[in-house]
Assembly symmetry: C2
Homo-oligomer: 437 residues x 2
């Protein structure tokens, strides 16, 4: 950093360019602070549509947006690609891959990552889907296994390649199951005349007795009905015991031969080193007060998936959804400015706008407070909400056109294997690197 | 292969899904042959727009098209991803990564790859751009170096990161130079307020005395003028001596400090093993007769960039452009059917439709026979020709929208670093693999 970068205004450092982090930065525009946003990627990911990237319906770039482009013109904003390695709360600095950085206010908005609950084999062999590189890896694996299946003569040889097991029947698992069922029903025979629709199986597995656990029973039942009608085999009250890359075993003895196990059964907060262990609670989250402040550190805020605001009103914290992160981000920006100005601050209040999940064309479920409905109208609402929430006119337009195209043709998406995905490389999970062709 | 795959019709095996290979396969639709197309990728690449993928103006998926989707419904067509390792002309088979495959007619349409003329250091440290993975690697490298430059305090430290050296002033080099100059002129300061326009340099280097060597002098001169007006430093009559990843040296002593050297100074045919060495000519091409037949092997055809049809009329063969591959592909499909039917065949005749190259917005050059023009109208023609040549309505629409958007905003493209590119990995160039995040 050269000397001209020396802050005249209080320095707000935001770690993470997800829904929460972006909100903090943009709400601090034109305020008397300097904002530095750090992320390991130079783009924001619209996670709710990751499953459409994995299944090839949308291109990665349609649901990602350049952070620099988003903040072009915001004078008090700077961005750098960086990995935060340590929080030094005692001296108000963080250690990062680009050096030590001082802050007056630190916002930890690092989000969550896949939770394999300590099962190393499942971590090694199953596919997570929490980032764009992971969604692309999953896409390439699916397409490669379809290609490989065309080379196999017998049904037994084809079976593990054409069986897709989705563990975790939350919105991600349900949406992915629906999308894979649509590939099976509408695309498989067109693209792969060598394969039969009946040979491809989609399983959705959960240890709970229902799909879409946090939704209303009405939404849950309808989603189950939609899925089974589309040919998804839904296995409830089932716990995974092990997975070796070829066969997944469940408690009670059932097994499925599959080379495609996708793990969306849990998440955990991504906390940088140095955070006081005493404030780390269940789900690897940072416990905060009702002002999003990390317990014992008034200059450090935690928001979104990495935060657990445990109060009398919210004894389990808030759900891990975009709306919580967005509202906390907005709140923290306001609270920082009020604090600087010596004004009174109010505690955070979450306004629940409701929940939506889509299963397939014309099929979605909506729980909007007391109003619950399912089917075509819920699906229209789902599309509208996701379209307007996407950053950037270009992204909105691309997604809109792709959806229209897919709706008309039953054959959207590109399904290209741009990079070969090799399971063996899972052993060295440290980073994503592009190797020349 | 199971027994039902046993061919009743003559088996035509096409190696390579480029412009030529696709043309052969589609012109054989509804003919009394079985067609098997092999490619190492499951998509066709529209190479003329690769440079826009490298500079982030277009997404990879906009200029690639699924081969399976393209041929969905063509009854006599099959496709497999495969690497051809050997041609066994004596027994009419090829060895491939998916086993030995018999043919009645073999069409080698494997195209060309970058020619580093045996210089191992240049091969190791400079960036080629002949495939989509390579274009993406180049994009990520450019963006990473811009990011790195924002962290450097001095001009001297920034220099190698912000100097772009394009070796080879053919259409690829010229188009890339123009696109980089536009990033410098219109995007750099918006996205990277830490950087100055003057700190970024774009050099275009060639050992010939002119840019766009094969074009008319009129086109050549105008392209030179366009480039220099946009701020590109064009260095002609200059030969590269060495490049070590940090500094490129030219004969005569001039050097440029650059971590971005892009090599488009030559191509060579990609010939599978087993092809009779005696028919391999200059540029690693397969010598054919005027029927595109490999000398001495009437059942083997070679077309496009990998072929050299050396006759009295074309003593140097044909230029390495898409039109040659397309016309040869169409011709070979007709010739195979005529041969099967015992009909007379005619020699191949190339119809030169002319040449186009674009330099930047409103700036292109066109040599259409005796009609030569440059500027806005040439640029409109260039866009029109490229749009209609793209496979698939969806791709046409995406590219069209992106171009309109970029034209209006001066700020198109997404510029995301989806996969980190590491120069060190260039040492193991064997394949492109996606490693999990």
């Amino acid at each position: 950093m050269d000397t001209k970068d020396k802050a005249k205004f209080p320095q707000v450092v935001i770690v993470g360019g997800g829904f929460g982090g972006l909100q903090v930065a943009s709400k601090l525009a034109d305020k008397p602070v300097d904002v530095l946003l750090l992320d390991r990627h130079n783009y924001h990911t619209f996670q709710p549509l990751l499953y459409q990237v994995a299944t090839g319906s949308l291109e990665a770039e349609s649901i990602a947006f350049s952070i620099r482009k988003n903040f072009a013109g915001q004078k008090n904003f700077r961005f750098n690609i960086a990995e935060v390695t340590r929080v030094n709360a005692e001296k108000n600095t963080i250690d990062t891959s680009i050096g030590e950085i001082a802050y007056d206010y630190l916002v930890i908005a690092t989000g969550s990552t896949t939770n394999f609950f300590g099962n190393k084999d499942i971590e090694k062999f199953s596919m997570p889907m929490k980032s764009i590189p992971e969604a692309l890896n999953l896409r390439y694996l699916i397409l490669q296994n379809l290609e490989d299946a065309t080379l196999k003569a017998t049904k037994a040889e084809k079976e593990p390649l054409l069986s897709f097991v989705l563990v975790g029947a939350g919105p991600t698992g349900v949406e992915l199951a629906g999308a894979l069922a649509e590939i099976r029903n509408h695309i498989l025979c067109k693209d792969y005349p060598e394969l039969k629709k009946e040979d491809m199986k989609v399983y959705l597995v959960d240890f709970l007795p229902k799909v879409l656990g946090p939704f209303s029973d009405e939404a849950s039942k309808k989603a189950y009905e939609f899925l089974t009608n589309m040919g998804v085999e839904v296995l409830l009250n089932v716990k995974v015991e092990s997975y070796d890359g070829n066969e997944i075993k469940f408690e009670g003895g059932k097994t499925i031969r599959s080379k495609n196990v996708i793990w969306s059964a849990g998440v955990m907060g991504e906390i940088p080193e140095g955070v006081n262990k005493e404030v780390i609670v269940r789900g690897n989250k940072i416990k905060t007060d009702d002002h999003c402040r990390m317990a014992g550190s008034p200059a450090i805020f935690a928001i979104g998936d990495v935060a657990a605001m445990i109060t009398d009103e919210t004894p389990k914290g808030h759900p891990g959804v975009a709306q919580v992160a967005i509202q906390m981000g907005k709140y923290v920006a306001e609270t920082i400015i009020q604090t600087i100005n010596g004004e009174a601050t109010k505690p955070f209040k979450y306004f629940d706008k409701g929940s939506l999940a889509t299963i397939g064309r014309n099929k979605a479920v909506a729980d909007l407070g007391k109003v619950k409905f399912q089917g075509f109208f819920a699906w229209m609402i789902w599309m509208f909400v996701h379209l307007i929430s996407l950053l950037g006119f270009r992204n909105k337009l691309h997604v809109f056109i792709n959806w229209i195209g897919s709706y008309i043709s039953f054959n959207g998406g590109s399904r290209l294997i741009i990079r070969q995905f090799k399971k063996e490389t899972l052993a060295s999970k440290t980073e994503q690197v592009a190797i020349p062709d």
